[in-house]
């Protein structure tokens, strides 16, 4: 479904992402881990189109999307969350999802109902998503007034409002307590049953090891290992990247 081919991004002399090849198949949950500054977030920005690649291609469902603007990629079915939460603070919880209904199917509605009122079907979808994230009771609250955990959930919910086929989660567990991480784990699994493919970028190794089918490890912009969670955990290059050379010996 998603195919990164030799994806490269240089910032001046810094090789933030350096020739990454990665394939994500339909229905998979793929974890992407790596130490700070290893290029994880840059990869997300390249996939969703906020940054143009220096070289290489992003292929989605067989089509090269490397030059498409971000909003067009959402229409194709790629949605993301942000590591540092970026909600529309002065809009209500409900409105945050309302403005994000931009899938191809949602866009193909008639102009007037789409922009002026919205169909009852669209409202129903928003309400269902809010229920799924335990946010229904906050629907008329301004997003800026939510507690941190609720904002994280809303960020996730907003990405789902566009009914994505591929979901890019950029450190969704950052700042969460154990219980919240558990719920997050459950939600990602539930979404897979609904046919959503997930690329999970995370520092929280336990979550990735628990939920991911396959894990890719980055270091200095390069992929140093890829495989099942157990395989990756045993890999010496990965241990080196995280713990340093001395600890491995």
């Amino acid at each position: 479904m998603l195919d990164l081919q030799g994806l490269t991004k240089h910032f001046g002399g810094v090789r933030a992402v350096d020739g990454i090849d990665l394939t994500v198949s339909r229905g998979e949950i793929v974890g992407l881990i790596g130490p700070n500054g290893s290029g994880k977030s840059t990869i997300v920005n390249l996939i969703c189109g906020l940054l143009p690649p220096t070289a290489g291609r992003v292929v989605f469902n067989g089509a090269d999307i490397s030059r498409l603007p971000p909003h067009a990629r959402v229409t194709l079915g790629i949605a993301r969350t942000f590591q540092n939460i970026r909600l529309f603070g002065q809009l209500t919880v409900w409105q945050n999802l309302w403005v994000a209904q931009n899938s191809g199917e949602q866009r193909s509605q008639n102009f007037l109902p789409r922009w002026l009122g919205g169909s009852s079907g669209a409202w129903e979808e928003i309400n269902r998503t809010l229920e799924f994230f335990d946010l229904a009771y906050k629907r008329d609250e301004l997003a800026a007034n939510l507690a941190f955990g609720e904002q994280r959930r809303l960020e996730f919910a907003r990405a789902l409002a566009a009914k994505p086929a591929l979901l890019l989660l950029d450190e969704p567990a950052a700042g969460m307590n154990a219980e919240e991480v558990d719920q997050l784990d459950g939600r990602i699994r539930k979404l897979r049953q609904d046919g959503v493919t997930t690329l999970l970028i995370e520092h929280h190794v336990e979550l990735v090891m628990s939920v991911a089918d396959r894990v890719a490890v980055l270091n200095f912009g390069q992929k140093i290992a890829e495989g099942t969670p157990a395989f990756v955990q045993a890999d010496s290059a990965v241990r080196e990247a995280y713990l340093g050379t001395a600890a491995v010996a």
């Binding site: 229409t75 970026r86 909600l87 809009l91 309302w98 403005v99 994000a100 899938s103 922009w115």
Partner: protein, 303 residues
């Protein structure tokens, strides 16, 4: 009495000007081009009624379309720049429009009079209202009918999904793009709507003043346009109306008895108002209090 009717006319037209800036400001863009669109509307509507003998309402319609088309065309290049650079770019556009009308002469002989815009001397004799026997009261009522319609339209737009999308772009362009909003299309649309409203406002302005010239459409007017929604607050269109009443009714006319001291106080009072109410005269808190006044608490259910 005529003084108050005249004041009401000024407030009405400036409300239209403020609303045009309000629409653009919702997307987070500070545009000083609104006075330019207002000028285009004024000249187009004036020429249609004076030179082509059109009735007023269709003339206003055409001035709205022309100003809106101009705003759309300006929107594409101008909205590629942000923040202060956009302010500079839109000032440049506004001045270009003003200087165009400074040099624009198109006169037609009518009896022993020459009618039409005449460069630096301006465009005199826009006498649609007196020729058709409209009293000051009629004009005032006409203006406020238009203002009420436009305000209701913008209020409704504001509450629709389109309004939420405008505000989303204003809050965080990066997040808006990433949730699938085409921010260029949204910003250009907002600019176009703003241009349409400014065009209507300009068209009315030309007819009640009967004499327009380029100096009226300079940076000062552009600054007023943007000051209304900022001072009034962006929670809804009523804030803009309140700010126009405050500035035009109180600061400019109400303090006229103070002579030269007025200009000094003018700036000071605006700074004071912004300090006391940093989110605008009519912010979310004030709206909530108003709602409580109108709807007694027992009628509101739960939340």
């Amino acid at each position: 009495m005529d003084f108050y009717l005249g004041l009401m006319q000024i407030i009405g037209v400036h409300t239209l000007l403020g609303l045009s800036a309000y629409c653009v400001l919702l997307t987070g863009q500070v545009s000083l081009a609104q006075a330019g669109f207002f000028a285009i509307g004024a000249y187009v509507a004036g020429m249609l009624t004076v030179l082509a003998q059109w009735p007023l309402v269709p003339a206003l319609g055409v001035s709205a379309v022309v100003a809106g088309a101009m705003a759309c065309a300006v929107g594409f290049p101008a909205l590629r720049v942000k923040g202060l650079m956009l302010v500079v770019a839109t000032i440049a556009f506004g001045e270009a429009v003003r200087l165009f009308f400074f040099n624009f002469t198109y006169q037609v002989q009518a009896g022993n009079l020459k009618l039409g815009p005449h460069g630096a001397e301006g465009f005199r004799q826009i006498r649609y209202f007196p020729e058709n026997g409209w009293t000051t009261l009629d004009v005032m009522l006409f203006i406020w009918t238009v203002v009420a319609l436009v305000m209701a339209g913008v209020w409704w737009l504001d509450r629709s999904r389109a309004g939420a999308v405008l505000r989303a772009v204003g809050e965080d362009e990066l997040a808006a793009q990433s949730t699938g909003i085409n921010i260029t299309a949204v910003k250009v649309s907002a600019m176009t709507i703003g241009g349409v409203i400014a065009g209507i406002g300009g068209g009315i302005f030309a007819h009640y003043t009967t004499h327009i010239e380029h100096v009226q459409f300079g940076v000062v007017l552009a600054t007023f346009a943007i000051a209304y929604p900022i001072l009034g607050g962006l929670s809804n269109v009523l804030g803009t109306l309140l700010a126009v009443i405050f500035i035009q009714g109180f600061l400019i006319e109400g303090l006229r008895f103070m002579g030269d001291w007025r200009n000094l106080l003018f700036g000071g009072l605006i700074v004071l108002a912004m300090n006391v109410r940093p989110r605008g005269l009519l912010d979310a808190g004030a709206m909530l209090a108003l709602k409580r006044l109108v709807v007694p608490s027992k009628d509101r259910n739960g939340a």
